[in-house]
């Protein structure tokens, strides 16, 4: 465990927690521009979170302790997830504590807590949202795991740091398996982050909403934690995509200059990625909820195909 490793780990965690709302703001701004609306400003998510923190919490009479603990647990899980994914350096001490499978488990833990919290008050919307969220979860999670397995097989390791190092420092060859995995990963991240075409973060229409229905009973600081966690989730998925498919510019062990240089590279990649996400959302229409299994089933098949391709062609 080196000094640069600890420094990189700490920087990365703080960067993720502090920058996550900015990424959400950037995506929202891009979307507004594409829709020819005036944008709310990059800092709008911070203003919303700050406002919610100052407001008091209005809690239903029959809310259980689980309901009050869930926002913090979800936030903690996603902060840890952000610390595991290598964004600026691969020499991260926490990488030995949790690998790609543990990362998927961590995201599942967060999802299970938020779904349980959604069912806690016993409203019609909470249960509906929890059920839909878990449905999307059980379809998306295996696809995500298969994408990570493809990368793990290429680098013969499930440790994210080793995966990124192998993928970043190999000679430039186009792996057909990674191409399939990339498409599958994009579809999974759209679904998992509640973006169009699976869910729409900007709507509160009961027929369509998933994530928003589940967190309808939250207010004040609890809602702020959940909003922040949602931003973190988008940040984690974006960084995971960058780490798997565009891992260039990530610093190696002991490379202090590399860490400094990695930061602007990360910001540039995130800016491009955010704009791409906004474009995808612009050009696609929201699906009916029972189209989501087909969408995610396709992602799952593509991911399995990616793994098969790797086993058949690339060994």
């Amino acid at each position: 465990m080196s000094a640069s490793g600890l420094a990189a780990q700490f920087t990365e965690l703080m960067l993720a927690v502090l920058l996550a709302p900015l990424l959400t703001g950037w995506v929202n701004n891009c979307r507004a521009w594409l829709q020819n609306k005036s944008a709310p400003g990059l800092l709008q998510p911070y203003r919303v979170i700050g406002k919610l923190f100052r407001k008091e919490v209005v809690l239903a009479h029959n809310a259980s302790p689980l309901f009050r603990a869930a926002p913090y647990v979800v936030f903690g899980c996603l902060a840890l997830a952000a610390a595991i994914v290598p964004t600026i350096a691969t020499d991260l001490p926490l990488n030995a504590a949790a690998d790609a499978i543990a990362l998927v488990g961590l995201l599942a833990l967060a999802r299970m807590f938020i779904a349980l919290a959604g069912m806690d008050i016993g409203t019609a919307f909470g249960g509906l949202g929890a059920r839909r969220e878990m449905m999307i979860g059980f379809l998306a999670e295996p696809a995500l795991l298969m994408v990570l397995f493809t990368a793990s097989l290429i680098s013969s390791s499930t440790s994210l740091a080793t995966i990124v190092e192998t993928l970043a420092h190999r000679e430039f060859v186009i792996y057909p398996s990674l191409a399939f995995a990339g498409v599958a990963f994009t579809m999974v991240s759209l679904a998992e982050n509640g973006r169009v075409p699976v869910d729409n973060p900007a709507t509160h229409l009961e027929l369509t909403m998933v994530h928003e229905a589940m967190v309808l009973e939250y207010s004040g600081r609890h809602l702020a934690m959940i909003e922040w966690a949602a931003s973190l989730k988008l940040f984690v998925y974006s960084c995971m995509g960058l780490a798997l498919f565009l891992p260039f510019g990530v610093a190696q062990a002991g490379d202090w200059l590399g860490i400094v240089l990695a930061l602007p590279a990360l910001l540039a990649k995130l800016a491009v990625g955010g704009a791409a996400l906004a474009t995808i959302e612009m050009i696609s229409a929201k699906m009916r909820i029972f189209r989501a299994p087909e969408f995610l089933g396709t992602a799952f098949l593509l991911a399995v195909l990616a793994m098969l391709l790797h086993v058949l062609l690339e060994r």
């Binding site: 878990m134 295996p142 399995v304 086993v311």
Partner: protein
């Protein structure tokens, strides 16, 4: 030294039998059974676990018992594999017995003394199955186990559905027993020597070994509940009292896994690689089938029974992978897959018994285990609810609890697979890994349904609204099992060190020497994969604590209680929540072809519209009813011989006599 552990184990088995016999001294005395005998049984269980833990690291010991037939004495043997399963039996039964002492109520159809006798005979029989070292002793213990558990399932024998479930259980248990007997017959290879010792040394021809393996797979599979022999599980588990369901699911299914491991890895000298494919395919089919059907159950116990089928499927997949690696001579990977298999056995034993017992507490407190009558129990019975939450998170395979560790090991074993010399097998592996991943994700869905509908939300009936907390005995049992789930999740490297003697004995390889100390779990090579649940938990807990404190320090902690918001709808009631069937509906839609769905929809003109949908097991009409029909037809053909007239029977005797004379001459 080692023989001392075996003697102590046999003495503890004797103690269990003595406890059962004592109960018969006053069969109607509830206090004696509940307050003295069940706690004593729990103490015996703990002692057994301690001895087994000790025996894991000792060389095998064997002994000829002064029991059995004159020329056919019982042989007993205690090696690392037996010791591991004895440890599981002892540790789980300690929790279950303590719970049972609080759970036992007056008013059961079976008197408490008789129930106590069957219960302890069941425990003793399971222990004897694990130490038996000849086929005769093994089958005696196996059948005692089947019969005692049959009577335990029959505890509420005045209800017709309980009798039906117990009959189905007995039927399939005996089909399995016949298959196991034939398997031992194939293994002794005509020598007439049924000691495991000689089977181990004999080199069976591969055809005979294959027959023995397939028979053992079917026989032990019937007991373990693999698809398509699983039908008794969802019937027998809900019929039995909760501590018995816990023992059936957590321990008895594991004795079947023990039998499979014993036959395939120990008694048969040279396993073939394609056996692994068979076991893997059956395992994956059971896992997916079990979890998909668990998602559409309304009854907590039926849901858990289907979840047991899923978990046995995962264990079987690990077992198949072990055989595959071993068949190709890849010992280190076989050791990894075997470790994953055994670890999952241990995990499943703890979290499944925990959830069955929690269901039992709910059943007593709210009068029903039907999810559609429950809800909001976290307010009325917080102890049970928090323990059940640990169990639910563990069974969903979430870090840092124990279910995740075994799933992690299993997936690691899969990721090492693409090095097998067979190209076609390599191609199957991504598909198999994908199915494991799907199972894991679906089990989280199932557990959100189980926990969310029963413990969260508003009560769906007056009994659930007036439920009471479980008593102190029940709480001790639940807390013990929950603590074991947490501990098994946090120190995986230590647990793998315990499994090391078994993998060394059966595959010749050790993976514990590579694991990076107690903090990190790193099978084979640390740069390939490592996982540290303690660090994981510490960092996550620190993040939660910092977030919570920061909010308190920089902002405030004010809370106002108000009615639920629900988009401004004022008259919220319990019927507006998702019912259990509603929660399962996405699964019926996504996996429609797997079910036999019958829908009863109202007409527009119906004055009292009713909508009803059931999603049933398609294997009943596809497999069981045709077989039952064929048996009935054959039976009626045989009945043609029975004319009921003495003259016809005399003709039969005469014809037999003639035939015999013809042959003997």
């Amino acid at each position: 030294m080692a023989a001392a552990s075996l003697d102590a184990t046999l003495a503890l088995v004797g103690a269990w039998l003595a406890i059962g016999a004592l109960a018969m001294a006053a069969p109607r005395n509830l206090t004696l059974a509940a307050r003295v005998l069940f706690p004593a049984g729990a103490a015996v269980g703990l002692a057994l676990a301690a001895i087994a833990l000790h025996a894991l690291f000792e060389p095998p010991a064997s002994r000829v018992l002064p029991l059995g037939l004159p020329d056919l004495p019982f042989h007993a043997r205690l090696d690392a594999l037996s010791a591991f399963f004895l440890l599981l039996l002892g540790a789980v039964s300690a929790g279950v017995s303590i719970f049972a002492s609080g759970y036992l109520r007056a008013g059961q159809d079976t008197p408490p003394g008789l129930y106590c006798l069957c219960y302890h005979a069941f425990l003793a029989a399971m222990a004897l199955v694990l130490v038996a070292d000849d086929a005769y002793f093994f089958m005696m213990a196996w059948e005692t186990m089947a019969l005692s558990s049959f009577f335990l399932v029959l505890t509420e024998h005045r209800r017709a559905e309980v009798r039906r479930a117990a009959y189905l259980y007995l039927l399939i248990a005996h089909l399995g027993a016949i298959s196991i007997l034939l398997s031992f017959g194939a293994l002794q290879g005509g020598s007439g020597d049924y000691r495991f010792e000689t089977m181990r040394l004999a080199a069976q021809p591969s055809a005979l070994a294959t027959a023995a393996f397939l028979l053992a797979l079917a026989g032990f599979g019937a007991k373990a509940g693999i698809v398509p022999l699983h039908v008794w599980l969802p019937e027998a588990h809900p019929a039995a009292p909760s501590p018995v369901s816990a023992l059936l699911s957590a321990v008895m299914l594991k004795t079947a896994i023990y039998g499979m491991l014993r036959v395939a890895l120990d008694l048969i000298a040279t396993p073939l690689w394609w056996w692994g494919i068979v076991a893997l395919a059956i395992g994956l089919a059971s896992a997916v089938f079990g979890v998909v059907f668990a998602a559409v159950q309304d009854d907590m116990k039926r849901l858990l029974a289907y979840s047991s089928i899923e978990n046995i499927g995962l264990v079987m997949a690990g077992f198949g992978l072990t055989l595959l690696f071993r068949g190709f001579g890849m010992g280190a990977l076989a050791a990894l897959a075997l470790t994953a298999t055994l670890y999952h056995c241990l995990n499943h034993a703890f979290f499944k018994s925990l959830l069955f017992l929690a269901t039992g507490s709910v059943l007593h407190a709210a009068g029903s285990s039907d999810l559609n009558r429950l809800g909001g129990l976290i307010h009325r019975m917080p102890w049970v609810a928090w323990c059940a939450l640990i169990g639910s998170l563990a069974i969903a395979g979430l870090p840092p609890l124990n279910g995740f560790v075994s799933e992690w090991l299993l997936l690691q074993a899969f990721l090492f697979t693409p090095g097998l010399p067979q190209g076609y097998v390599n191609m199957l592996v991504p598909v198999a890994a994908a199915l494991i991943a799907l199972t894991a994700a679906l089990s989280a869905y199932v557990m959100v349904k189980f926990y969310g509908v029963a413990f969260l939300g508003q009560p769906r009936g007056s009994a659930a609204a007036e439920a009471h907390e479980a008593g102190p005995w029940e709480r001790i049992g639940l807390a013990w099992l929950a603590a074991c789930c947490v501990a098994l999740g946090l120190v995986p490297a230590t647990v793998i060190g315990m499994l090391d003697p078994i993998t060394r004995g059966l595959t010749g390889y050790s993976i514990a020497s590579h694991a990076g100390g107690w903090l990190y779990l790193a099978p084979l090579e640390p740069q390939r994969a490592s996982y540290s649940p303690i660090l994981f938990l510490l960092v996550a807990a620190a993040a939660v604590a910092v977030a919570w404190l920061a909010v308190r320090v920089f902002y405030h902690g004010r809370v106002r209680r108000a009615p639920p918001w629900d988009c401004g709808f004022p008259r919220l009631d319990a019927r507006m929540q998702d019912s259990a069937a509603g929660y399962g509906q996405p699964v019926t839609v996504v996996f429609q072809p797997a079910f036999r769905i019958r829908t009863e929809a109202p007409l527009p003109s119906d004055a009292r519209p009713r909508y009803r949908q059931s999603a049933d097991d398609p294997l009943w009409p596809l497999l069981y009813l045709p077989v039952a029909g064929a048996v009935e037809r054959i039976g009626s053909l045989v009945a043609l011989l029975q004319r009921g007239r003495i003259s016809v029977y005399l003709v039969y005797s005469f014809a037999t006599l003639l035939l015999l004379l013809l042959f003997v001459r």
